[in-house]
């Protein structure tokens, strides 16, 4: 810690003011400690991001490490006109995707009863009033668990879009770039992910049974 402070003191510019892309520039000019700063900016965010996608902390740590190794390997080829955060998230998300594929444990795709021909009177939600169920309190108490499980149950390609938007706060355009999808696909996946998410958590949040059956031509 002491050593880090000294480092910071010696810098001409406080790193907090530098953009990621500027840090990379300094690193490539020979200021090797800048890479560590870059790592420290993103390591925790990526750990949480990957963990939310794969649900395995230890593997998530390995994949964060692998992400930075790839960054290090290819940093010279990185186009500094682009956003570093988008690049690093693209690497992390691809690694998480491969991990899920390798595990052959892609979540079962739930709630895929897609109705292509909607009638105008179809409603996305139907409620059955059973608010006096005895397990309400129990369900409330376990809301967090239910929410985690709901996200786990989302199909991987929906989950990544959902997590990028909801916890990482990425724009649609960034998500499209990170996932390599079109903007339309991102919107559609996000909509369906939110819909499935709502369907799964509704019993705990609302005390109501929700059955939803709808979609808009998932891509």
């Amino acid at each position: 810690m002491e050593e880090r402070k000294l480092h910071i003191k010696a810098r001409l510019e406080p790193s907090g003011l530098l953009k990621d892309e500027e840090l990379i520039g300094l690193f490539l000019e020979g200021e090797r400690s800048r890479f560590r700063e870059l790592v420290e900016r993103y390591d925790k965010r990526l750990l949480n991001f990957i963990y939310r996608l794969i649900g395995d902390r230890e593997r998530a740590e390995d994949l964060v490490q692998e992400t930075f190794i790839r960054v290090y390997k290819h940093i010279r080829r990185f186009d500094r006109e682009k956003k570093f955060s988008t690049w690093v998230y693209t690497i992390a998300s691809n690694l998480a995707k491969n991990e899920l594929r390798n595990r052959s444990r892609n979540p079962i795709v739930l709630f895929q009863h897609i109705v292509k021909d909607w009638e105008d009177d179809h409603k996305p939600l139907e409620f059955i009033d059973n608010s006096k169920r005895p397990d309400d309190l129990f369900m409330r108490r376990h809301l967090k668990e239910v929410i985690d499980r709901a996200v786990e149950k989302l199909p991987a390609h929906h989950r990544v879009v959902f997590v990028l938007r909801e916890t990482e706060g990425k724009s649609y355009e960034e998500i499209a770039e990170i996932t390599g999808c079109s903007l339309g696909t991102v919107k559609s996946r996000l909509n369906r992910a939110r819909n499935n998410f709502a369907t799964l958590i509704a019993p705990s949040l609302e005390n109501d049974q929700i059955s939803f059956d709808g979609g808009d031509g998932e891509q």
Partner: protein, 299 residues
């Protein structure tokens, strides 16, 4: 606006990407439709709860592990570059000649029963083989194990005890380095853990941690390494802090420190004292790496 349209536009509404008039339309619909109003609330509250989940923290040794991996990567690149002339030569010679060489090597292996190439085991010492993993220096107290490790690892990296191992000699110049610290050897062989952790949990080990951002153990060099610096004594760097002072100065795991501030290392104790001094002056180090003496300055 109906429920179908509400559903289709919902994400745009939530994320504020729709035009103002459409947002207003949706707001009106929500006010008059119980189902869509609940849907809106469930998603909003659910996402809020999801975001509030406690964040995972990075493990303390994350940067250290990353440094080891990057170091290994650099080493592999360096080896690749140094091998490339040989590779191009190999590509040009005929397949028959390659097969002949391979066959000769095969025969040699099975007739001599000794590992070919740089990595050989000194018969006289059970602990004379040290291999470094991505996280620690591994010193085998069992000769047969050391032998098989060393033989197997020659020119390769592999998985052993869950760690990626590579021959220490590849970074210390093809000369055996003997680590004479039973506590260290035993501890490491029993627990393939990180050397930074070893330092904390093994007080009997003579692992030296320095304020310069590296840890080393007393090591004895053999010829011709010892001949190079006219001394057998050195300190084997077994752990280094990623982007720390020593790392930035160019010190690497596997280096054998032979002098500090131009004073040769006569015994471990004196170096321990010197290396542990906290002062801001520039320290000059001489290390043996790849059979050569390299001078470094740590600011």
């Amino acid at each position: 606006m109906n429920c179908k349209k509400f559903y289709r536009d919902f994400s745009g509404y939530l994320d504020g990407t729709l035009p103002e008039e459409r947002i207003e339309e949706i707001k009106k619909h929500i006010e008059g439709c119980e189902g869509c109003s609940s849907y809106n609330r469930i998603v909003t509250e659910g996402v809020h709860e999801y975001r509030e989940r406690p964040e995972l923290q990075m493990p303390d040794d994350f940067l250290g592990r990353l440094e080891h991996s990057i170091y290994q990567l650099e080493e592999e690149e360096r080896l690749k570059r140094s091998r490339s002339p040989f590779r191009s030569f190999m590509r040009t010679i005929s397949p028959v000649l390659s097969a002949g060489i391979a066959f000769a090597g095969f025969l040699y292996f099975f007739t001599s029963h000794t590992p070919s190439g740089q990595l050989r085991i000194e018969d006289r010492s059970a602990r004379s083989v040290a291999v470094s993993s991505s996280s620690l220096a591994y010193v085998s107290p069992v000769r047969t194990e050391a032998f098989s490790l060393a033989h197997f690892l020659e020119g390769f990296a592999t998985e052993y005890l869950g760690n990626r191992l590579s021959p220490l000699r590849s970074v210390s110049g093809g000369v055996p380095v003997t680590v004479e610290d039973p506590a260290f050897a035993t501890f490491v062989s029993e627990d393939p853990s990180f050397s930074s952790r070893i330092a904390r949990s093994s007080p009997t080990s003579s692992l030296i941690q320095t304020p310069m951002g590296f840890a080393a153990i007393p090591a004895r060099m053999e010829r011709p390494l010892s001949k190079l610096v006219d001394s057998e004594n050195g300190l084997l760097v077994v752990d280094i802090k990623f982007m720390g002072k020593a790392f930035v100065a160019g010190l690497r795991k596997g280096d054998v420190i032979v002098s500090l501030d131009e004073k040769p290392i006569e015994q471990a104790g004196s170096l321990l004292k010197m290396a542990s001094e906290r002062n801001s002056k520039t320290r000059a180090l001489s290390v043996v790496r790849n059979g050569r003496v390299v001078n470094l300055k740590i600011d």
